[in-house]
Point group: none
Chain length 206, copies 4
């Protein structure tokens, strides 16, 4: 507990934190163990003492992200029955999550690029545990059955909804440039409404 080395947090945690940043910035192959060590102000060997290998450290980083995200899922996602209340929550949720886990996006993108079996399994599991996909699908299907929504393929609709949301987060820098968006924050805020509006308007029967 007492900080003999004058640094906050214990070594393993500090390594993990720095590693999260390093892997986010440079990807697995571009990341440097040396750099992690010096940024964490520890001897390189400590990384191996605590994590055994660069690869295991990388997995630990991914796990730490996923754990946090799962927490987020579990605590922030309440399931109001009304889509007009529910959907904006999801959008806010993503915004908050990516804010909290900034480093996750690049890691996610690169995993995607590499075929990312690790991610794939982790996601599948998370989806199943949280029930996110099922719940969403059921709501849409219920809405259709009740005649409130048009008879669309609910899976396609959900993917569309997720896509229109996440895509902007993933491609932020490019989008801001290409579409000459001056105030990212404001645009995000506006986006929340527009996306939900478009989606609901696109679905609702009338």
């Amino acid at each position: 507990m007492s900080k003999k080395n004058g640094l906050d947090k214990n070594t393993a945690a500090r390594i993990l934190e720095v590693a999260r940043d390093e892997f986010a910035k440079y990807g697995f192959d571009g990341a440097r163990v040396d750099r992690i060590a010096s940024r964490a102000k520890i001897n390189k060997a400590m990384i191996y003492y605590h994590y055994r290998s660069k690869e295991k450290l990388y997995h630990a980083v991914i796990q730490s992200h996923l754990n946090r995200i799962r927490e987020f899922f579990e605590t922030s996602l309440d399931t109001s029955p009304d889509p007009e209340a529910f959907l904006p929550q999801i959008v806010s949720f993503w915004d908050a999550m990516f804010q909290d886990r900034k480093g996750f996006i690049p890691i996610f993108l690169r995993e995607l690029a590499g075929g990312g079996q690790v991610m794939q399994k982790a996601f599948e599991q998370m989806m199943k545990e949280s029930g996110f996909n099922k719940v969403l699908k059921q709501k849409i299907d219920a809405g259709i059955a009740a005649g409130q929504l048009r008879p669309v393929n609910s899976t396609q609709a959900i993917i569309s909804f997720i896509g229109m949301n996440l895509f902007y987060f993933l491609t932020l820098p490019i989008m801001n440039t290409v579409w000459e968006i001056p105030d990212e924050k404001e645009f995000k805020e506006q986006r929340k409404k527009e996306v939900v509006d478009l989606f609901l308007y696109g679905l609702k029967a009338r």
Copy 2:
């Protein structure tokens, strides 16, 4: 053309082709000059003779992708005035493009992850040259002005449209797993209609 080594294509082209694959699979840092050489069945030094450095080769790969994509843009994107005819074309266009340039997605994702200045500029330029974004925006805005479409923010709408399309392509493997999609091809075909339908239905005034 001369085939003293029994291989088709000239060396520089063969290197480029193999490099495209290598960079797609492993990213810049993960790619190996050695591996490119041996797969292209040439001596490593030839890569330097033709491309001067790994980085320059990487840029050449990106350029080759962008050139092809620009070609695609220019030839495949006709501008029918009717959104109901126009939008499906865009969707088909992306499908065809990613089919043709499979290796581009991972490179794009990793560039995105890395902050990707190269891509950013290239995209900006391409957008401007092709006028893709402007044309699209004008059409939407015209529709709104004419009272055919609801008064939405056209930029947000377009990003949503692009997002719901591209996101599925970028995350194909994960999506197929999470949503238990058995027939990718069929799902893609169906998606074309559903996406356009959702988007138009979401936009149209009534």
Copy 3:
């Protein structure tokens, strides 16, 4: 004796025992302090507390072997005057000793390979103290003087005798394979007689 950690023997002794095995298996350079610690179920630092360095531990291991061997020499080697009784005793002695000190052979071999000054001195001293070589030489020379044995060079003869005995022990695995010996135990038993027989028959005058 105190067993607060639930292990028998005191720590120093347990370290030594494990170290004997480790050095036997891997040699000095191949041995790992970490592995010794974990096998002895103690903290690595304890090894340094008790033995100060890997090298000193190694020396302790060698000493422990030599001490035991000296004990063996002193207690098991009685000096019957009759060679036909005496020589089989020596052979049995070696068999018993190597059985008791299994780990000694590889250490001995490696010391031999490395020039092994440590061993050399230790052996010289042991020989002198036990008088093993002198006694043996005297017996042979006496036999020659009495006309019972042929006039051979006694040193050469003794080396031959030692050689034909020890060589088999040192090269056991290879010999068993090359000569397709199915039952090592039986072969050893038979060997005792054959070796003594060959040696005596080769020496005796007639």
Copy 4:
């Protein structure tokens, strides 16, 4: 052919030669790739270029020894039918071989110490190919059948013969010290006769 670097032999051969020495002196674990590189006056990476790993280099060293030894076996070992002519040849052969392949003894000893499966297989094969063991055994058995030799177990006898010969070579430094042998060369010369004499005298019927 032309020595651009002013060194004799090509690099791979020079590495092998130096490595033979290094592994002989220090064993596999004690050997240093750095040292091999600097002694061979080449860049460390060349070792990996030519041999891929320290372990493969080690195997190459062993193979190079075994190849040479096999050559020796094939060229030097003629099979005179008369044991009194044949046996001294074997002894001379070993002397010459160990002279030619000095570095082999320590490697052999350490392989022996380590359980040395590599050696074991190599030896087995060499024995079978050269027919050394079979030929020897047949000669002894023939002598016994003809009544020239006493009815001993021929395998045991051969192991004894090999042992009394090789053991001295393997333990040279210790033996010379313990038995206070002043002139190694002379002792070796004398040994040749004494060993054969003892063996034959021990075997011959009368």
